[in-house]
């Protein structure tokens, strides 16, 4: 039912099958995308699922909440489109989405 692409910092891409209702963090960790840790289990409280959403998709994924900002803005790699992957829910609407990973999770 579609795919979501995770691009590692070194350029390696992972095309993952989109599962409606799963968070991007769950999709990444259950498909072994390296570099997404998800230490808090998806509660927006550890900051280890940081991804950067492609500009063109920002409108569809929405922007980060205040709660997310508090975690992400502590990372030196924080970009305008930085999000916590656990806070983005996959829907058919996101088919074809690409997100990039920062060099490190904090």
């Amino acid at each position: 039912m579609g795919t979501i692409t995770f691009v590692e910092y070194d350029g390696t891409t992972h095309e993952i099958e989109l599962v409606d209702g799963s968070s991007l963090m769950q999709l990444a960790t259950s498909n072994g995308v390296p570099g997404i840790d998800g230490d808090c289990g998806g509660e927006a409280s550890c900051g280890t699922c940081h991804v950067i959403v492609d500009e063109a998709w920002a409108a569809r994924t929405g922007t980060r909440s205040e709660e997310e900002s508090q975690m992400i803005e502590m990372s030196p790699e924080c970009a305008p489109n930085s999000r916590l992957a656990c806070q983005i829910t996959a829907t058919p609407d996101l088919d074809g989405l690409t997100v990039r990973l920062p060099e490190f999770q904090m």
Partner: protein, 480 residues
């Protein structure tokens, strides 16, 4: 605020800033000490003293009287059974009276995570320990956003993963030096010769502190975090103030020395002082002495007890679980996961404190504005609702990374990656050298309700019988 209040307030801030900036920080510490002493002589304050007595079994104590703040809980092996009872019977538990005043205990994983993630309602100010530390210093771990964020961002770069990559080789060298100096086949104190030694070397490196004096860092950290008033420890107030004064003087000197060396053309290093001096937000930190002192103390204490006790705890856990040690030797690629499991199993800091900023209903209880709320990480890490068979030490536990020893939310430990790296390197290097690491005799525990630590643990090492592939090639047999 009325305009006149604002004017007064501003004037007061200006005066305080001026005083802070002009009076040397060690003198300020001394002044605080004198005030405390005067209060003591006048009988306004009595220092706390704790005497050890056997702690009864949890089943024999009425629920309302359970006191987790007893600094001998860990030493007597009682914390975990008490935590288990509270998780089942009173997960949000109120104790009306303790040497540290009344407080709430939060013991379930999910509840702790909820409190930790809600800094709007649960404030980290003004302290993160149960008691009242005699010396009031400012540190961002005990500040709420937005002030917290600014200060933390300014210093966290030093332990950012990018810097750590640069540092990995250096850390490994230091670990190798320490391990190569250890005796085999004879007992020695692991805490002193390995855990403290490695942690001290790391801290000295991070701060560019004189290497030969690194044990001072350990001493200051232990002394400052170990007062009876703060954590139920054994440090006398006077000793704590003396240590604070000495620490303040040393770091002010270190700061100026560094500035002079940089001005003379010394290239910038990867140490914290350089980082602070080159960052816009912190380059003038020396002019705010209490903040300066607070942040340095935080980095020293934060990097000291935690890593040290995980380095000891890991050896103890593997020694108690020989099957896990065999598993580790058969597959060293499990080390990173084991590091998380060690940090979960040990939980070097038992809790963090919050204060309710407003009346709040939580977990079926009514918490009032101003109440102390203790998040018991040590209990959350053993919560059977989150971890299957939580008391077992399993190096390949699937969700070991979900441990809460680093805390959650804006105060999540900023040294987490450094801690993981140090422990990973330690275990890689240990496996390369030793076949057995036996704990001989009962470990001795720190007296504290905050630090879950060891003061002594006798260990005996057995060298590897077969040389490892990656090791240096064996010497050529002598020619006949």
């Amino acid at each position: 605020m009325t305009p006149i209040d604002t004017v007064l307030d501003q004037a007061l801030t200006r005066v305080t800033d001026k005083v802070q900036a002009t009076i040397p920080v060690d003198r300020q510490v001394r002044a605080a000490h004198l005030v405390k002493k005067a209060k003591r002589f006048a009988g306004l304050e009595t220092p706390l003293v704790f005497t050890e007595e056997p702690i009864p079994d949890p089943a024999d104590v009425p629920l309302t009287e359970i006191d987790l703040s007893n600094p001998f809980m860990n030493r007597q092996g009682k914390w975990y059974p008490y935590f288990a009872r509270l998780r089942d019977e009173a997960p949000v538990h109120y104790l009306a009276d303790s040497p540290f005043g009344p407080f709430w205990s939060i013991t379930r994983y999910a509840d702790i995570q909820a409190v930790d993630s809600n800094p709007k309602v649960f404030s980290a100010e003004p302290y993160i320990v149960l008691g009242q530390p005699p010396l009031e210093i400012e540190m961002f771990i005990a500040m709420d956003p937005p002030k917290h964020d600014v200060q933390r961002k300014a210093v966290q770069g030093v332990v950012a993963p990018r810097n750590l990559k640069e540092m990995e080789g250096l850390i490994r060298e230091r670990v190798q030096e320490v391990l190569d100096s250890l005796p085999t086949d004879e007992p020695f104190d692991w805490v002193d010769r390995v855990s403290i030694e490695i942690t001290g070397r790391m801290l000295a490196t991070l701060l560019d502190f004189p290497y030969e004096q690194r044990r001072k860092l350990t001493y200051w950290s232990d002394t400052i975090s170990g007062t009876a008033e703060g954590t139920g420890g054994t440090t006398h107030q006077d000793e704590m103030f003396a240590a604070g004064e000495e620490l303040a003087r040393s770091f002010v000197a270190l700061w100026h020395d560094k500035a002079a060396r940089r001005a003379a053309g010394e290239p910038d290093g990867f140490d914290l002082i350089t980082l602070m001096q080159t960052s816009e937000d912190t380059k003038d930190l020396i002019k705010k002495p209490m903040e300066f002192l607070g942040n340095l103390t935080l980095l020293i204490v934060g990097g000291n007890d935690t890593t040290r006790n995980s380095m000891t705890g890991g050896v103890l856990a593997l020694s108690q679980n020989p099957d896990q040690f065999e598993k580790l030797k058969a597959d060293p690629s499990v080390i990173p996961n084991m590091v998380s499991e060690i940090i979960r199993w040990q939980t070097p800091l038992a809790y963090m404190r919050r204060v309710a900023k407003e009346d709040v209903h939580f977990g079926g209880q009514f918490i009032r504005k101003g109440d102390q709320v203790i998040m018991w990480y040590a209990s959350g890490n053993r919560d059977e609702r989150k971890f299957e068979n939580p008391d077992a030490f399993l190096i390949d536990r699937p969700n070991a990374r979900n441990h809460m020893s680093f805390g959650f939310g804006v105060h999540r430990c900023m040294g987490n990656r450094l801690a993981e790296m140090q422990l990973r390197i330690l275990w890689e290097e240990l496996l390369a050298r030793f076949d057995r690491i036996d704990v001989v005799g009962e470990p001795e525990y720190v007296q504290s309700n905050f630090v879950k630590g060891y003061s002594k643990m006798m260990v005996q090492l057995t060298a590897r019988s077969a040389p490892q592939e990656s090791a240096e090639p064996a010497e050529e047999p002598a020619a006949a």
